[in-house]
């Protein structure tokens, strides 16, 4: 990006201020507000859920507050995704450097074969290995979430024209500079797409984690299925759906314009 347009972007940011911020991020913001409203307001909507389950005594899931469930869900997905990004991008960078290049074919194959494994099966396999609770879920999400990130980072880095690298080297850049200032910025859109896939899968798989003893937004659904209470199911399902859509629309915006980067 040239200096002139860089300054003008910055200028527009300052001048436009809030209005610009709001128009740019309006879609994810609306979903977020809806998510928060329902998270905190669900317990006041007894009348609505009475319609779904007229004969049941309790129509609002009260074992844990929805806010706590949402927090748990975000925490598990956040920790797993963050680690997956660090490890995945790191691994892909390592195997594209001269020192690690021997490992590249195997890592690429592993990432593509691994993605045929269903996430539920990976989650199920983590339990015999690690036991019940939150830890196996984080590990399973981390391992499975690595795959799209590694795959996309590899694709992004190897998709860069060799001439570009050559030119950067010709300008006297070191290997590290080329990586930070040329390769990673050029590969960023593809890497971001991989992270988006990874996070989307993680949100969905974490919900299934409620069956292996993690307490998160999957809980009301599982409890509703077990007790035959449709109202619980709807409450959990709506919140998970909204969470997924909020995060996805956030990534959608990020992918369209990456403000002030590069």
């Amino acid at each position: 990006m040239s200096g002139a347009s860089h300054t003008s972007t910055l200028h527009r940011y300052l001048a436009g201020g809030w209005a610009l911020f709001l128009t740019r991020w309006s879609v994810p913001l609306i979903w977020l507000i809806l998510l928060l409203l329902l998270t905190f307001g669900m317990s006041h909507m007894e009348g609505v859920f009475r319609l779904v389950e007229p004969d049941t005594r309790e129509v609002i899931y009260r074992r844990t507050s929805f806010a706590a469930l949402l927090g748990q869900h975000l925490l598990v997905v956040g920790v797993a995704s963050l680690l997956a990004i660090l490890l995945g991008v790191g691994a892909a960078i390592a195997v594209t450097r001269p020192a690690g290049r021997d490992f590249q074919p195997m890592v690429a194959q592993l990432a593509s074969i691994g993605q045929t494994f269903p996430p539920v099966a990976v989650l199920a396999l983590a339990v015999p290995a690690l036991g019940f609770g939150t830890l196996p879920i984080i590990v399973a999400l981390l391992l499975y979430g690595l795959l799209p990130i590694v795959r996309n980072t590899l694709a992004g880095l190897s998709g860069i024209d060799a001439g570009v690298r050559e030119a950067a080297r010709g300008m006297g850049m070191t290997g590290g500079q080329i990586l930070r200032q040329v390769e990673l910025p050029l590969a960023a859109p593809v890497i971001l797409a991989g992270i988006r896939t990874s996070v989307t899968i993680n949100i969905a798989t974490a919900a299934i984690g409620a069956t292996v003893g993690a307490s998160n937004l999957g809980d009301p659904i599982i409890s509703g299925i077990v007790n035959g209470n449709t109202a619980y199911i709807v409450q959990g399902a709506v919140l998970i759906g909204l969470l997924a859509i909020t995060i996805d629309s956030l990534f959608d915006r990020l992918q369209r314009h990456r403000p002030l980067s590069t």
Partner: protein, 388 residues
């Protein structure tokens, strides 16, 4: 032909080193007197003594030695050794059974320990690495698995009755077979329906461009919603519909069961199917269609005889993605009573019976891998057939 450098294959060296360490330091098997009591773990040297367990490291050390200064011949030998090791694992398990068996405990169960899982993983990685380095074709790669499967089959049918996984299977072999059938039927029904609906939708999108944006928007939206949530959201309306219309209920439609599962599966399958069909049809070179038309083909002929066959490989890619995805999602559908292999997973998790979980999870992975390989091979064949 791939060029094989004359310096050591560090990947193989690392894999074998890790293999040796896990064989010496992790538990190889565990033995439990019955289903309820947790097993006692045993390391390899506790099963077969130090001498034999060190001796059994020789093949891995040999592979490492071959990888030190590799050439095509040496790597071939290394690949042969790896396949041999994979085939020998069940035989070793059989030996472990006879070493640890206690005649007073006829219900004893042998669990596969972390060392063997790690070795299985490392050796398979080794096979993948060598297949790539040697430039072996896909069918050759699958052929390599034949001796391995033979080894397992032989051991399971004769000596491995106490293997915990096998005991779980024996306890419910009828259920297992019907679950596999059910799983495949649900996947087939969903993929079939989404193929019909998806192709029609893609054709409609080509005809009416206005539909494209909205259509992809909706399908993308569905794909974003987590599976458990979508199953849950379909539950209430379907229960209501079934309560209202008797003919729906008599078809077996209800809030739980196959109906919401099937609908959700079709919903998820539509995006890859429509996207691939649409892109495949659009990507056909206009010049090719032009020349077909120039040769006197009607619009319809040009579509059916030129555009469709050219688009077929990419469309089939969509079927592959959809099928693999549906195999995994059907497992989740077991939670809403749709049956299939996922039932074992969730039953096993509920009873903390880990071998039952494996009985569900391993076949699901196998199904996904086989479906992926078969449809991938078919796509490959069509692509080459289409070029001639």
């Amino acid at each position: 032909m791939t060029i094989i450098p004359r310096r050591s294959n560090r990947v193989l060296l690392c894999l074998m080193l890790a293999g040796v360490l896990s064989w010496l330091m992790l538990d190889a098997v565990s033995m439990a007197p019955n289903r309820i009591v947790p097993g006692t773990p045993h390391r390899a040297h506790e099963v077969m003594g130090w001498w034999l367990s060190l001796l059994s490291l020789l093949p891995m050390l040999a592979i490492a030695a071959l990888a030190w200064r590799p050439d095509t011949g040496r790597l071939r030998v290394a690949l042969g050794l790896l396949v041999l090791l994979l085939a020998a694992m069940p035989l070793w398990l059989a030996a472990a059974v006879s070493a640890l068996a206690d005649p007073s405990m006829p219900q004893a169960r042998l669990g596969i320990g972390p060392a063997l899982w790690v070795l299985l993983f490392l050796w398979l990685l080794g096979v993948i690495e060598l297949r790539t380095r040697l430039g072996l074709s896909r069918p050759m790669g699958w052929l390599l698995l034949v001796p391995v499967l033979l080894g397992w089959w032989l051991a399971l049918s004769r000596w491995l009755e106490p293997l915990a996984l096998y005991r779980e299977y024996q306890g419910r072999s009828d259920q297992f077979i019907s679950a596999v059938g059910h799983h495949l039927a649900l996947v087939g029904a969903a993929v079939g329906a989404s193929l019909v609906v998806g192709v029609s939708l893609a054709l409609a999108m080509r005809r009416f461009p206005g539909l494209r944006r909205a259509g992809f928007g909706v399908l993308n939206f569905i794909q974003t919603i987590p599976s458990l949530a979508l199953f849950g959201l379909l539950l209430a309306p379907l229960a209501w519909l079934a309560g209202r219309f008797d003919w729906l209920a008599s078809l077996g439609v209800s809030g739980i069961g196959w109906a919401p599962a099937w609908l959700a599966l079709v919903g998820y399958s539509l995006l890859p199917m429509v996207r691939n069909t649409y892109v495949a049809l659009e990507e056909v070179d206009p010049a090719v269609i032009e020349s077909a038309r120039g040769m006197g083909m009607s619009r319809r002929q040009a579509f059916l005889q030129v555009r469709l066959p050219l688009a077929l490989p990419v469309m089939l890619e969509g079927v592959r993605i959809t099928t693999v995805q549906a195999i995994g999602l059907t497992a989740v559908a077991a939670l809403i009573g749709a049956g299939g292999l996922g039932t074992f997973i969730f039953q096993g998790l509920g009873q903390a019976a880990m071998d039952l979980v494996l009985l569900g999870a391993l076949p699901i992975i196998a199904l996904a891998l086989v479906a992926d390989a078969l449809l991938g091979a078919l796509t490959e064949r069509l692509r080459h057939g289409g070029a001639s």
